[in-house]
Each structure stands twice: as C-alpha cells, then as structure tokens.
Symmetry: none
Subunit: 194 residues, 4 copies
DNA sequence: CATGAATGAGGGTTCATTCAT
DNA sequence: GATGAATGAACCCTCATTCAT
C-alpha cells in the first residue's frame, strides 16, 4: 500500500503539486503530469479544483505550512535567542542543499507570475509577512525592546535581516553554493553586535 | 517611422524579447507572440535563432549589457566612492519603480529554468559575477586595500553587500515597494562603518 | 448516416489511417489530414494515440488482420492444396489491381522507416513471419511431410515461394502490371513439380 | 583537402543526396540537411536544381550508374555464364550487408512516391528495365537461344529470375538477414536446371 | 556563380478545460 | 464522487521555395 494511494484523491493531488510545482516550476508543470502522477482522472481533478491556479493557491498554502514548520523546528531546541538566529541560517543551508538549491517556492512563483493583483502573488506576500514576523520575534528577543544606541530599533534591524535572508536564498540558488548564506549570517552578526 | 521597423529582423526580434521575456516571463511568452510583435515570419525567426532557448541566451546577453549600462551610468558622475555605493541603491529604487517592480531578469529566468547545467543558467551566473565584481570594486575604493579592524577584508564585505542587493531586489519585487532597498542601504551603511 | 461517423473517434482515426497511410504513405500523410478526414479534434487524436508512430503501429496491426483475412478467404474454398497455392497468386493479382498497385503496406513502411530497431519495423517482421507460416502450411500440404527426391524439404521450398511472392508484389507495384505475379506463379509451379 | 570540397557545388550536392536519400529516405531528408552537409548555400542549391524532386531524379540517375557498375563489376571476371549468375547473388549478399540492409534505392523511392505518373517513378522503371535486361543476357548465355524442353523460353525464365532477385532484396531488407538471397539462388538453380 | 534573409504553410505535440455518463 | 472522451487554442519547430543583392 503506497503512501500516496492510501490517501484520498485531493491529498494525492496536493502532494504531487508540492513535488512538481516546486521542482519543475508552475508553468512548466502541466495538469496532465499532475493527474498522471496523482493517479487521478482528469475530471476528478476538476471536481476538487476549479482551475490550475486554484491548485497553485492550495500548493502555496501547503508549502507555507511545510516550510514554516521546518523553520520553527530548527530553532525550537535553542534556548538562547542568538542561537535561534544562527539556527535559522543553519536551517537555510541544510534546506538549500536538500532541495538541490531550488530556492524559495514563493519567490519562484512570483517570478513566474508577474501580475501582482492575483491571489497567487497574495499568498506569496502572506508567506513573506510571516517570515518577517518570525525573524522580528527573534530579533526582538535578542535586542530587547529598547532601541540600539545608534537609534536603530527592532523593526528596522528585522527588515535588514529579512532582506539578508532573501538575498542569501536567491544568491545561493543561483550559484548552487552555500556561501551567500554564510555571508548573510556574518552580516547579521555585525548588524546585531551594535 | 516606428523605432522597430527601421531595424532588421534580427534586431526587432531581440528587442521584442527584451520586452516580452522580461515583462511576461520566458515560459509565458510564446514564439507566436514574439514573431507577431516583431513583424517577422515564423521561419524568419528560425533562420536567425535555432530555438527559443537560443533567443533566450541572446536576450540575457542583451539584457546584461543594458542593465550593467544603467548601473554604471548611475555611478559615473559620483566622485566620492561612498556616494557611488549610495548611487547604486538609488539606481535600484528608480529601476524597480520604472520597471513596475518586475525585478531581476536573471533571477526570474533562474526561477523558471530549474536545471542548473543549462546555457541559460550559465548566463545568469555570468551576469551575477559581473555584478559582484562591480560592487567589490566600489567596496575596495571605500575600504582601501587594508582589512577592517575586526578582520573583515574587502571580498567578505563585498559578498555581504552583494547578498543585500539581491535581497533588496527580490523583496522589493515581492512587495511592490522600495523599502527593502532602503533597508539594504542602511545595512550597507552599518557594515561599511567598521 | 455515413459509415465513418457512426463509429467512435478511435475507430474513425484507425479507418482513416488505413486509407491514407496506405495510399499516400506514412511520412507523406500528416496528422492534420488524418484528424480532418476522421472528423476529430487534434487533441482528441492525442487522447487515443500518444504519437503518430503509435497510430502507425495500430495501422499495421489493423492492416495485418485485414490483409491476412483477405488472403485466408481466398483459399478457404479450395479443396485441393495445390489449388490453394494458385488461389494465393490469384488473390495477389486481384488485390494489386484493386489497390491500384500500391503494393504491400508493410514493405512500403519498411522503406520509409530505415531504422530497424523500431516497433514499426517489428510489426513488419511479424506480418511477414505469419505470411511465411501461411505459405509453408500450404507447401506442407502439397509436398507431404517427406522431403523431395533431390533433397529439398518443405521449409526450403517454402522460403523460395515466399521470396517469389515478395518479388511478385514489389515488381508488380513498380510496373503497375500483373505479369510478375504470373511469372512467380509459373516459377512456383516448376519448383513444386519436383 | 577533403574529398567533398575539392569538387564543385553541384557534385557535392549529388554526393550528399546519394548518401542521405539512400540512408534516410527521400521524404525524411530535408533540403536543409542536404545543403548543410554539402557545404552549399540554399540559393546555390536552387541555381543547380529547380526543386527537391529534380535532385531526386539526379540522385536516381547517379545511383543507377553506381549500382549497375557494382553489378557489372561483380560478374566481369567470371568466364562461365552460370558463374556469372551465381556472382550476381554473391554481389547481392555483399551489397546488402555493406549497405546495412537498406535495400534497393529505387524500390524504396517507389514506396515513398505512390503517384505512378511521375518522373521519379519513371526512373525507377528504367532502372529495373536495365536490371531485367542484364539478367536476361546472362540467362540467354546459360540457356542458349533454344527454348527449354518443357517449352519455357529465355524471356520467361529471365522474368522469374528477376522476380526472385526483387524478392530476395526486399525480404533480406525486411529481416536484416541474407537467407532470402540464398533461397533465391537455390530457386534459380532449380529453375535453370530444366 | 553564389549568397543569406525571408516566407506561408504545415509538421507533430501539448495546453487547461468541459462534457456526458 | 469519479470518470474517459472530446475540445479549440496554442505550443515550438521545419518544410520546400523565392527574393534581393
């Protein structure tokens, strides 16, 4: 009894999308491949999802839960708040390697779907908002609630760290190497030593 | 006399690709649209380019020259080396706004083409290498050749700045806002104040 | 109510292939013509056949059944085993005339598809194997199980007759005349009179 | 100095056609491949040949000279007229093996071009006529001018041998084996032992 | 004599979606 | 809830041929 067939059709479809949309890209993945790998009839697909775009939304939501889960797991055993931040970069490195440097599912979709006013792009923003909140919480733990001596407060620093994280991901994706993540980590270290 | 029709077929095709591949994406843009907007017969396209992918290579090379030109223009009137770096961020803001926050043509293509061992992805790497060199030259001017007091040398800092720039571009693209570029600029200021 | 439209799409496609692939040739017949004469949408074709080559396989199998049916019909009313063989040549003549001397569907395809290790060429071989078996059975009936006085046994003679039949078909096809079939029949008569 | 480039354009084109039309087939070989392998510009091709079909005619004529040359060479050292006939079958075997069992260039073209009233098909017939004449001459040498005891004269027997040769070629082509040529030879032996 | 650019028509194939059952 | 058949539009690419130079 395979892992896929013991689930219902809808779950199999989403699981397949999680794999194919991420690895091959959204546009490069056809409905035919999805239904074929999901072992689902074509019409069955359309009883569960009104369109390919609807599946994409579902994909992004599932991916969000998955990835944020990985992220949170990676810090939950760290007592020290600074260690949490370093754990984030450690996670990024492991994740990029494990995913064959495919990069961020959400930024990738944003590249494929230029139109901003779409539900897809909205999901991307929601994901990045939560990533920012997550990072800001850690920064807040590190810095305390008081602003730094040179006038930089938590939200400012958090945004810089967030930008570093994004740059680390896309640069690592481009080069198939992890040094950008290490550079970002070093930069974060400096920025927080204020 | 339109700007396009006074050129020859090949140039019209590349110009159209510069527009469409960037705005709509590589996969979302069909050969049919390209030849129709280039006012060129289908077979004419294929006398100039062996495949859509070959045009993509040409597109990336033309885009590289174009964008690096913009980048270099933006700093050439700055005498001070620090001002050059701030001019870079100024350029990024203007560019993102003017391009409707479509982001980096090269990173977008890298998202659409997951396979690393392709000529396309190679062009992306080459572009980013030159961007890194450009930034490193400015950092070198700023820092001088001597390493910073806390042991960070030019290449290290340059990589951090590069990662910040990448993060600024993709985050700005995602949010359709310029604050990530400003955050990156602030972070760069701190990193270079060592 | 036309003969074609009362059947389902798949049958209409195969029927059309039976006609066009045979009359015009495999390469000279495009998918567009097939779907147009089958009254079928292009995508419908590809729900039934993964490729043009797959239809070709189907065509060869259908043609095999058809042609072997004609061949067997032509001898089934002959009591005498020698008469059966002469009936074969009689059939060849009628068939070549009725088919406008287009010749053997299988040999024609073999001429169009040089690569031997293809499923298409394999179907050709299978057809010719069965034709050989059919002829050998008749030869066996004629000669009995005992070898001829000059040492030629059934399989040897059967192969000669088979080669004669092939030569009769292609020579008749080339000249648009039936005399090669008559020459082959005469030769067979001599070979079996041993 | 390669063998091809020392010749003029026209010869290079015909040489390329001799190779490609034979190996790949007429329809499967495009003008582009021919001009590319001939190292000739497209327009140069059309200054020498009004159409692809015209090149095909030229190809068939060149092939005719080539193949008949091989055939005649194979018998010219045989003193005995019977040995000449056996030499023909010996040649067929060597030729089929050397040509990778691609078979008769003329019959192959006849399969690809069903329309009988074409110059192409006419060239095929002319070639086969000469092959028949060649065989008949040998048969005549063997049998003398007097008819056989059972009333078969030279033209009759020659046609049978011709049909056997055709069958030997196409059957050998189909199976990628030489036994049909040997079967034809054995049959010829019997037919001539009258 | 030779040429690269240009062409309309068509090649085989896949797209996301809808339908009747 | 699930299905296979059917679809029009579009996919990338190649065909044999002609043209201006």
């Amino acid at each position: 009894m395979s892992r896929k067939t013991e689930k219902n059709a809808r779950n199999r479809i989403v699981d397949t999308a999680l794999d194919l949309f991420y690895r091959q890209g959204y546009l490069a993945t056809g409905i035919n491949q999805i239904i074929s790998e999901s072992q689902v009839a074509k019409a069955t697909f359309y009883t569960h999802f009104p369109s390919k775009e609807a599946l994409c939304i579902e994909y992004l939501r599932a991916r969000h839960i998955l990835w944020m889960g990985w992220l949170k797991e990676s810090v939950e055993n760290e007592g020290n708040s600074r260690d949490k931040l370093w754990a984030v970069f450690g996670f990024l490195k492991r994740w990029m390697i494990d995913s064959n440097f495919r990069g961020c599912a959400f930024l990738n979709i944003a590249s494929e779907v230029p139109s901003v006013e779409t539900e897809i792009r909205n999901e991307v923003k929601k994901h990045k908002n939560e990533l920012q909140r997550f990072l800001q919480n850690i920064i807040e733990e590190i810095m305390g609630s008081n602003a730094s001596s040179i006038g930089l407060d938590v939200p400012h620093i958090a945004k810089m760290i967030y930008v570093l994280v994004e740059g680390a991901i896309v640069a690592s994706q481009n080069y198939n190497e992890t040094w950008p993540i290490e550079s970002a980590q070093e930069a974060a270290k400096i920025l927080l030593m204020l």
